[in-house]
C-alpha cells in the first residue's frame, strides 16, 4: 500500500502498462517533456524514452487521428486531451473513425485506445476548461466512457482501460486530482469497467453520481443523516456501459432516486439514469426521480462558477424534498 492522490495513481497505472506492454504509447500536448499540465505523466518520458512518451502538436484532430491509426496497426495508444473542452476538433475522429472501426471493418480492425481527459469544473478555470461532457460521449455507439472518483479506482480502471480492445474515454475529475489521498495497492490490479460501486448503503434515497461529485454527495449525506435520512450512494464509475442492475437494485430498496451530475441538465446523464429507474423499478418509486445537475449554459468564469456547481447544500435540498414528496 502506498498513499497516492489521483495524479500519482494514474501515473502509476501508466508506468505499469508502459513497463509491461511495449505496444503502449503515451502522448499528447505537453505530455512528454513537461509531464502534462497537471503533471500526470511526470517522469514517464525520462523512464521510457521519447519514442514511447512524447509531445504532440497542438492539434486535437491529429492527436486522435494518429491514435486511431496506431491502434488499427496494433499499438495501444493512451492519449491525453489536455482539457475535456479541447476535444471538439478531435470529435470527428472519435465519432467517424474510432467508435465505428470495428463495425465498419466487420470486426477485422479494432481501435484499442484510451483518450484521457481531465473534465469538470470547480478549479476557477477559463472557458473550455470546465466542461463535463459524459452525455455527449455516452450517446455515441461504440465508445466506452468511464470516470473514477478515487485514486484506487483511477489506477485499477485505467489499467483495465488500456488492456481493453475498445476505445475508451477516460474522464478524469481534475477538481479532485490532488484533493483526495488514499492508500492504493502497489503493482498491477484491475477494476472491471461497467460496474458501479455502492459507496455507502442507505434505505431512504438512492443517489447516483460519479467523479468529483461523489465527494460533494458524501458531505450532503452527513448532513442528511442529522435529519434522520439514510442515503445510499452509487458511484457510477462507468457511464457507458451503465450498470443498470446496481441502480435498479438500490432503487427497489429505497424507492427514491437523485442523480448528481456536473453537465448541463437537458439530455444529460440524469435523464438516462432516471429512465432506467422508471423502467426497472417503476412500482417501487415513491417520488419522481430528481436531478441535481449543471445548467443549460456554458460553465461560468471563476467569479460566477459557484452558482453553476453542485454543492452539498443543493444536494441536501433535493434529498429532503424528495423524501417529503
Amino acid at each position: 500500500m502506498k498513499i497516492m492522490n489521483m495524479v500519482n495513481a494514474i501515473n502509476d497505472a501508466l508506468d505499469i502498462k508502459l513497463g509491461e506492454d511495449k505496444n503502449v504509447v503515451v502522448y499528447g500536448e505537453d505530455v512528454g517533456v513537461e509531464g502534462g499540465v497537471f503533471r500526470v505523466t511526470e517522469g514517464l518520458q525520462q523512464k521510457y524514452g521519447v519514442e514511447r512518451v512524447f509531445d504532440s502538436p497542438l492539434a486535437e484532430s491529429g492527436l486522435v487521428g494518429t491514435a486511431v491509426g496506431m491502434a488499427v496497426a496494433g499499438l495501444r495508444p493512451v492519449i491525453e486531451m489536455q482539457f475535456c473542452g479541447f476535444v471538439y476538433p478531435g470529435f470527428n475522429q472519435i465519432i467517424s473513425h474510432a467508435s465505428r472501426m470495428r463495425n465498419r471493418s466487420r470486426g477485422l480492425y479494432e481501435t484499442p485506445m484510451v483518450i484521457r481527459m481531465p473534465y469538470g469544473g470547480g478549479i476557477n478555470a477559463l472557458e473550455h476548461h470546465s466542461e463535463s461532457m459524459e452525455a455527449i460521449f455516452g450517446h455515441i455507439p461504440g465508445l466506452k466512457v468511464v470516470a473514477p472518483s478515487t485514486p484506487h479506482d483511477a489506477k485499477g480502471m485505467l489499467i483495465s482501460a488500456i488492456e481493453s480492445n475498445d476505445t475508451i474515454l477516460f474522464m478524469e475529475p481534475k477538481r479532485i486530482y490532488r484533493a483526495i489521498k488514499q492508500e492504493v495497492a502497489e503493482g498491477k490490479f484491475t477494476i472491471p469497467l461497467g460496474k458501479a460501486n455502492v459507496v455507502s448503503q442507505g434505505t431512504d434515497v438512492t443517489i447516483v453520481a460519479f467523479g468529483a461529485m461523489i465527494r460533494e454527495v458524501q458531505k450532503a449525506i452527513v448532513m442528511a443523516k442529522e435529519s434522520g435520512i439514510s442515503v445510499e450512494l452509487i458511484d457510477l464509475r462507468s457511464i457507458y456501459p451503465i450498470d443498470r442492475e446496481t441502480i435498479a437494485k438500490s432503487v427497489k430498496k429505497t424507492g427514491r432516486i437523485i442523480t448528481v451530475t456536473e453537465g448541463p441538465r437537458s439530455f444529460g446523464l440524469g435523464s438516462e439514469i432516471s429512465q432506467i429507474a422508471i423502467e426497472e423499478a417503476f412500482l417501487h418509486l415513491e417520488a419522481p426521480p430528481a436531478r441535481v445537475s449543471g445548467f443549460d449554459t456554458i460553465v461560468p468564469l471563476p467569479r460566477g462558477e459557484h452558482h453553476y456547481m453542485q454543492d452539498p447544500y443543493k444536494i441536501l435540498y433535493e434529498i429532503e424534498r424528495i423524501v417529503k414528496y
Partner: protein, 428 residues
Amino acid sequence: MRYIFKFPDIGEGLEEGTIVEWHVEKGQKVQMGDPLCTMETDKVVTAIPSPKNGIIAARFGKAGETVHVGSALVEIDIEGVEGAAAVDEANKVEPLEEGAGVVGTLEVAGNNAVLVASKEGVRVEENISSGGKKALSTPVARAIAHDMGVDINLIKGSGPAGRVTKEDVIRFAQDGSRQIKPAAVPGEATSPVLHTNLVDSEPLSQMRKTIAKNMIQSKHNAAHMTVFEEVEISELDRIRKKYKESLAAEGVKLTYLAFIVKATAMSLKKFRALNSEMDFEKSVMLYKKYYNIGIAIDTEKGLVVPVIRNADKLSVKEIAIEINKISDKARDGKLTMEDMKDGTFTITSYGSIGGLFAVPVINYPQAAILGIGRVSKRPVVKDDVLAVGLVLPLSLSVDHRIADGGDTARFVNSIMGYLADPVSLIME
C-alpha cells in the same frame, strides 16, 4: 539526535498556514513550549510551540511563506549535532506538493486527509433493516392513497406480483378495516403510550381498569336520558337540624343523604321499572323486589359504590347509621365485594364536593342513577311570596330502553314529594 519538527495540523482539516514571524534564530537554544513562530491559518493566528528542548539547527521557510501541514518547520538539535548535517537531513524532506497546472487552482489534500483504502472485493454488506415492507404500486395508486390518507404499505395488493392497485386503495379506504378495532370488547381498546419527558406513563390500576370498563359498558349499552329537577327542602333541613344533635350524641351523623335514600327506596317501590334490569339477550325484564341502594363514594383510589341493603325497610336513622358505616369502610379501604354487590339503584351525591348539576352515568345493568347536586339558599316563591328557600338540585339518568319519560318524571316527582314533605316518609 536530530529532530525534524513538521508543521502540525493545529485545526480541524487544516491544510496550510502562513508564517507571520519567526521567534527563533538558527543556533538559538529553545525549551519545550517556547514559541517557534507565529502562523496564520484560515482559522487562527497562533504561536507554534517547540515540542522539544534543544538548539535550533535549521529553519525552513521565511516570514510570509505558506507552509503545508506536514512539511518541515524547524530542525532541533537535541544533543548538539552539527547544524550543517541537520540541514542536509532536512533537505531530504519530500518537496511540497503543489496544485500544479497552467490553468486554474487545484485543491490539494493534506497529508493527514487520507481516504481509507478501497475494500472492493471484500465488501461486507451492512445489515440495514429496510424498516417494514414497502408496497409495490403505480404512482396513480400512491397518489390516491395519499389523498385518502391511507398508508399504502399497509394494503395487501391484489395486482400482479402483489401490486397495490387503485381499486385496492379505494376498497381499503372504504371498508374501514384500517380503523382501530371497534370497541366490541369494551375497555380493551388501547391507545399508544407516549414515552416522553412531558408525560408520566403509569400502568392502569386494577380499580381504574374496572371503572373504565364499567363506564364504557354502561355508555355502550344503556340509552342514557337525564332529567333535571330542583326541590325546596327547608322543611327537611328543619327536621334534620332538630335530630342532628341527639343522633350525633349516639355517634350517628345525620345527613340529607339518609332522607334521600329513604325517599328513593320508597319511590322505587312505586315505579318498578326504575328498580329493574333488562336482559336483552334473553328478551326478559328483571323487576327486583329488593331495594338495595348503592352510594357512590369518592376515595383516593377512585370511585366505589357500596350498597345499603333493603333500604326500603330501614328507618332514616338506620339508613344514616349504614351510610356512616360504609363511608368509614370506604375511607379506610376496607370495603369487601359483599359490601358492593347486588345494588339495584345508585345515588351519587356529587354536590357534596361541587357541581350544581351533573349527568350521572348509570351503574349498568341497573336502570337508573340519581345525582344529588349542591344545596344552596335561593330565592323561591312560597305562597305567592318571594322567600329564601333551600334548594336541592337533582338529576336522574335512566336507561331509556327500560324507563319511558312518563315513569321517569313521575318517579322524580315522587322523590321530590318525599323530600319537600319529609313527614310523608313515615306516613306510608
